[in-house]
């Protein structure tokens, strides 16, 4: 099932940042760069599966990864990042899951590639696999950055 959100503008939001709740994140802040948007939660078992891959990707500095911390608690989320590593430039807190609904989230983790104009170009439901990263996500990111 292809997501109806492909080639549509990333739905707007303004959410408090996980580590610094005084600050916010909005997709508009990221105009002009290609970014990966990853929906995660400390309670999400499948997130553990893709997490090392995201940490490794963030080390390569190819593309910034922003997180949507979905229906989670701040303390649990921060503890999870401290334990497993933090691949995110920053994460926004979607405590009630309202933004998740706008992004059509139904199987955490979900991952979006968003282009310089703020348009969603790719969506992965479920954990990012090495294959999806190598064959789809990274080639698309390079093409969009080019």
């Amino acid at each position: 099932m292809p997501s109806p959100l492909i080639d549509k503008p990333a739905p707007p939001f303004q959410l408090a940042q996980l580590r610094d709740p005084g600050k916010t994140l909005a997709p508009g802040d990221l105009k002009g760069k290609v970014w990966i948007f990853n929906v995660w939660a400390s309670w999400c078992v499948a997130c553990m599966q893709e997490h090392p891959l995201l940490v490794e990707l963030s080390r390569q500095n190819l593309v910034p990864i922003y997180g949507l911390n979905y229906k989670d608690g701040r303390d649990n989320a921060l503890k999870w990042l401290d334990t497993h590593g933090n691949p995110y430039t920053l994460s926004a807190m979607d405590a009630d899951g309202r933004v998740g609904i706008d992004y059509g989230v139904y199987g955490v983790p979900e991952t979006y590639v968003i282009d310089k104009n703020g348009v969603i170009r790719f969506k992965q439901i479920g954990p990012v696999t090495p294959k999806a990263l190598e064959e789809k996500i990274l080639p698309l990111v390079r093409q969009l950055q080019g």
């Binding site: 109806p4 609904i101 992004y103 059509g104 139904y106 199987g107």
Partner: protein, 153 residues
Amino acid sequence: MTAVLLMVLALPAFANEAAPAAQDPALEQRVMRLTSELRCLVCQNQSLADSHADLAIDLRNQVRSQMQAGKSDAEIREFMVARYGDFVLYRPPLKSTTALLWAGPFVLLAAGGLALGFYLRRRRKRLTESELTPEQRARAEALLHTRREGQTR
């Protein structure tokens, strides 16, 4: 006197206002009717109305609050489709991407009918073809006859 009358008159209105939205039976009925047409994406063939999944509860609340905000059923259905795709509808709309879904059963039925007709025709042809020529029949009868005579002897 007027003050008392006003207070009495205002009482039912006040009671209405105090009732939480979730206990408005007409609204709840409308929520249930619409969500029973929407698929719970994280469940095995359950509607949003039936499911206790976290996401289903969130989406039911979403439907309720949009109804309270005056949105029509069609608008709410559109809201869901824009986010989750036609898959969220138990009765997907007829359009190019869903044509196969709608026509599929009929196409399969027609294909099955054609295959059956073809098979029956071939079978009938095979049966008539395998019928014996008069000479073959005579020879077969002769053979059977001698054999039978041989047995009785």
